[in-house]
């Protein structure tokens, strides 16, 4: 395959990248910052990212006094010589140079390493050629879709060929999807989640904050898109907080979730301090209540009349006005439609069993989609799930029986900064999961439009980051926390279009790459929901009834 030559390396360093003199006639406008390119050295082929473009002139007089009135001929000739362009490319991976016509190198090797691709350890000499990447280069580095767990996530910005995520690696560590509002975070998450469900690499617990994942939503083009429940039927179970909306046609729910006051822990309440308007002293008082009443601390607090309250304050030494204020604030919680004075843990246990059984769970909030509802329920459910997975892992370590091996679990969390901001990340369940639950096979997929609001220790733990356009410098810095080659990647991020273009960096891809995620549409749905194994007829019938309410 012939690769189009773009220029030759004339300068550079290992740290700053290679400076390439573009060939005469090669317009800078045909090249896009962040794109994937190849430099052919003598011994090695280098896979690079275009990180900068620069305009130069050979004679300062051309800058001081730009000549006027060029014919096209003169400007064509000048633009390849006295006025010229430099590209800066950053080598990310390399491999021993092989005959590019030899397609067989693709057929061997599951991993980039097995295909001969390795991290860069050197740079090419002067006059190595910079060439356009071809299909074979993409496939060599990013793998082809027929490799196990390779899921076609999208395509390069300027080419029509598949870019895969290694979903196994994606699930191994926590990950993040970032980007300004409207860049396509939720749609990208839907694509990734559908891939994980389809390839069966683990189970998902999804907190559907904005009612998008279970039953789909209306896109900005005013099209209704399908939800994961529609695509995967009984493989996905939806638990809804909203009794009134659940089980309308096309919205089958597998359970209605109620929360008992007895299930709410001090941690849940403190997480919502801002939403509930709690004072700084609330934590101490909640601690006292918990010490005194155990599991019933919240029920007792809410039931207290004036007399009981002052009695409690006398005994415990708490400040009466503060306790009154706390009681007032927490009564807001108790008035929620889905809150009951007391609940057993049957439904929560069912959720855990469902996950252990290999089915995916979506928590649907319906009309209860205020930040308070979302935070309370997500934290409460996750705390239990996390405990269950810890226990399972301990069991597995004891028996080492395959049947006891915990399934990889990924928890999808929108508005992640609410749970993982620096003030609280060290105390919340989600913070713990992000930092240390990898060994218990639990990871997070955090979705957020303000990554700078997330604790940097959490950010540095993220294995794979998928980011759409970000404008704020602090957000860009946050997304690239703990990543090498930041300056090249920063430019690559800044050059993305506003919608449906992302930079993927990290564990699930061999090197950073700009991708246009797949469009979440009929064609995509048809592909992912195509059953891999035949499904029994009555199962199908039942699913149809559930889905279409017939």
């Amino acid at each position: 395959m012939d690769r189009k030559r773009l220029g030759v390396v004339v300068d550079g360093s290992f740290t700053a990248g290679l400076t390439v003199r573009l060939d005469p006639g090669q317009s800078t406008e045909d090249l896009q910052i962040g794109s994937f390119m190849v430099v052919q050295g003598r011994e090695y082929t280098y896979f690079c990212m275009l990180s900068d473009l620069q305009l130069r002139t050979s004679d300062a007089r051309l800058i001081a006094k730009p000549p006027q009135g060029f014919t096209p001929f003169v400007s064509r000739v000048l633009s390849g010589s006295a006025t010229y362009a430099m590209a800066v490319v950053k080598p990310m991976l390399m491999m021993p140079t092989v005959d590019v016509r030899d397609d067989s190198r693709l057929l061997v090797g599951q991993t980039p390493e097995e295909r001969g691709v390795m991290s860069v350890r050197t740079i090419p000499m002067h006059y190595a050629e910079l060439v356009e990447a071809t299909e074979i280069d993409f496939l060599t580095v990013f793998g082809s879709p027929d490799k196990p767990n390779h899921f076609v996530f999208g395509q390069p910005l300027t080419m029509d060929l598949p870019i895969c995520l290694d979903l196994g690696r994606f699930m191994e560590r926590s990950s993040g999807i970032f980007g300004q509002t409207g860049t396509g975070k939720s749609f990208t998450a839907l694509v990734v989640l559908a891939g994980i469900i389809k390839h069966d690499v683990g189970v998902n617990l999804i907190f559907d904050a904005h009612n998008e994942y279970a039953y789909g939503k209306e896109s900005e083009e005013k099209q209704w898109v399908k939800g994961l429940k529609h695509l995967f039927g009984s493989k996905v179970r939806v638990y809804s907080l909203d009794e009134s909306q659940a089980n309308k046609p096309g919205r089958p729910a597998d359970g209605i979730l109620k929360i008992g006051l007895n299930q709410i822990e001090p941690e849940d309440v403190i997480l919502m301090s801002q939403e509930l308007g709690l004072t700084a002293k609330a934590g101490t008082m909640i601690g006292l209540l918990k010490d005194t009443y155990g599991d019933k601390w919240l029920t007792r607090l809410i039931e207290m009349d004036a007399e009981a309250l002052s009695e409690f304050c006398q005994q415990s030494g708490a400040h009466e006005g503060s306790v009154q204020a706390l009681q007032r604030d927490l009564k807001k919680l108790a008035r929620k439609e889905y809150i009951r004075p007391e609940m057993d843990s049957n439904l929560l246990d069912e959720i855990i069993l469902t996950l252990k059984d290999g089915k995916h769970v979506i928590l649907h909030f319906g009309q209860h989609s205020s930040m308070m509802d979302y935070m309370l329920v997500s934290n409460l459910v996750t705390r239990r799930v996390r405990a269950a997975w810890e226990k399972q892992t301990e069991q597995y370590e004891l028996t080492q029986a395959n049947a006891d091996r915990p399934r990889p679990l990924m928890i999808t969390l929108e508005e992640a900064h609410k749970f993982l901001n620096p003030e609280i990340a060290s105390q919340t369940t989600f913070g713990t999961i992000a930092r240390e639950m990898r060994k218990f096979h639990v990871t997070l997929m955090v979705i957020d439009q303000r990554p700078s609001g997330i604790d940097s220790e959490v950010l540095s733990q993220l294995g794979t980051r998928i980011s759409g356009k970000l404008a704020d410098e602090r957000d860009i810095d946050a997304v690239l926390t703990g990543v090498s080659d930041r300056s090249a990647l920063r430019n690559a991020l800044a050059s993305l279009k506003l919608r449906q273009e992302v930079l993927v960096v990290g564990h699930a891809v061999p090197m950073p790459i700009q991708v246009r995620p797949r469009t979440y549409d009929e064609a995509f749905w048809a592909e992912v929901s195509k059953p891999t194994a035949p499904v029994a007829d009555d199962d199908l019938e039942r699913e149809k009834r559930e889905l279409f309410g017939a």
Partner: protein, 198 residues
Amino acid sequence: MTERIGEIIETDSFTFVAESFALNRPPALGSLVKAQAGGDTWVYGVVAFGETVSVDPGRGAMRRSRPDAYDEAVYTRHPELEHLLHTKFTVIPVGSRVGERMSQRIPPQPPPMHYSVYACAPDEVREFSERRLYLRTLATAQLPAPVEHVLAAHLTWTYEQRGRDEAWLEQAALEVAGLLQQDVERLLAVLYAVDPEA
């Protein structure tokens, strides 16, 4: 075989001067010519200068015209001018040929005194100019005229000889641009002069 156009009257390693057989009509500035160098060896060069002067350096030319006889009529009335004046042109060697082998290296010896200079046929021009390494030799030579004029003349002449070959002209202009990129004024002078679109 092409036309004999002159005879070498001064010669050294980097320049030779020939007397033109046609008075007042030296070969075009910038044109490619070749000199016989003995046996099947030829020297190619680019015409960098032309002049018509008195044969006797001690006696300059003087006015001959009259109100009723000027220009061509001067020569009709004074046939002896053919012997008093001569036309010379300076050639910069840029390549050579031995038998069929053409090269863009300058020859090891200067072409011999009193040997002939020939014009080059279009096919030969095309063949010689296919590679353009010789442009560097020309641009860096000690020229009797400003380099931008010689280069511009050569590019335009060759472009015509090659049947208005625009692709060639653009490549050659790019090469010249590379050679003159430190001196934009000269470069622009060449480009404006050769621009086929102007």
